[in-house]
Amino acid sequence: MIWLDLMLVGLILGLAWRCVHAIELMEAVVVFVALGMLVALAWARLQAPDAALAEAAIGAGLAGALLLATLRQLPAQAVRPQPLHWLWWGLWGLFGVTLLWAIGSILSTPVSLMPWVNTHLPEAGVSHPVTAVLLNFRALDTALELAVLLWAWMAQRALGESPDTSFHPVQGRVLATAVKALLPLMGLVAVYVLWRGSSAPGGAFQSGAVLAAAWLMLWLADLPGLDPRRWSVRLGWLGGVMVFFLVGLLGLVQGIGFMGYRPDQATGLILLIESAAALSIGLLLASMVLASLPGIKGRRA
């Protein structure tokens, strides 16, 4: 199956080249979204279904929505590529040679943390190693990542952008009915993906991406229930980080250190964190996309 990998990598390289080399911004954006999909396929080939799911939903889907929404608000202008100095090409070549050397040296020194992960997996509370690493062994990384997402959204709000329900770009009976029919199903899928994450690929990120799509559809279809000015929604933005750090403090009180769980409580605590994180990730991602939609600010001004 080496030809499949060669073809996939070739396509990815070609699309990456097209993306940075496009003369029109629209072309660059469309190629970038296509690149996201192919990269998700590559992650699946590399035995990383968790990353593939997240990349397809977040990296290609939501990034595409954000990019296209932004593109519509930019004045049409031709992309004028910067002329590059020969000194820069020297730097580029040096960078390439260094990377080549680094990859070669990694290849000759195989290091893996997997034996440690396998040793401690029985006391992690979940049986899927990726979820165990994310929410138990390296929980602080995941907590900080949620904080980064929250911080990015706060910064976006500080730039004067906020989802405003007084304007709806898409409306109509068909959409509203379709959303009403699809929403319970999407909720079910989100809960299933979250629950499945403890023993198989899936988890808070993938579940959060499904929730984000559901929320976006709900907001776009103008159905009542989720006004971003409501306190419950604001609490939802903060919820993931808050629950994560509160559970972390619980470990500190119990004397196992910050972000430590007792093995018999680990499953429950991880599910609690994952549920709060999925809700927060979904709300934050949906808010980011909704705030970027064209027309919202124009209507207000």
């Binding site: 940075v20 968790d50 992309v79």
Partner: protein, 102 residues
């Protein structure tokens, strides 16, 4: 053996992204180039993870974290670009009005 293809593919993606970052004629394209470089780094990590059977979970978890951080970067970068466009429009409107008064 397949991971070698992805390892050197990752090198290519990072180098293309770096080239795009320097060459880009628009901030949006610069932002895309940064994300292309990020995809190359993810590919490197995931290719290294497959040297272990079953695949090493630690780099995979790192990539999952990285994907969310990358989308945060993209969202914030795009918000800054939109604000820049709004400011540019207003500045243009102001200079037009001044030209009218002169």
């Amino acid at each position: 053996m397949n991971e070698v293809v992805y390892l050197y593919g990752a090198l290519g993606v990072v180098l293309i992204g770096f080239y795009g970052l320097a060459r880009a004629g628009h901030v949006l394209q610069q932002l895309l180039a940064v994300n292309v470089m990020g995809a190359g780094v993810f590919m490197l990590l995931l290719a290294l993870a497959t040297r272990h059977t079953p695949a090493d979970a630690v780099p995979q978890a790192l990539v999952l974290t990285g994907i969310v951080v990358a989308i945060s970067t993209l969202a914030l970068g795009l918000a800054l670009i939109r604000r820049l466009a709004v400011e540019a429009r207003q500045a243009e409107k102001r200079s037009d009005q001044e030209a009218l008064h002169d």
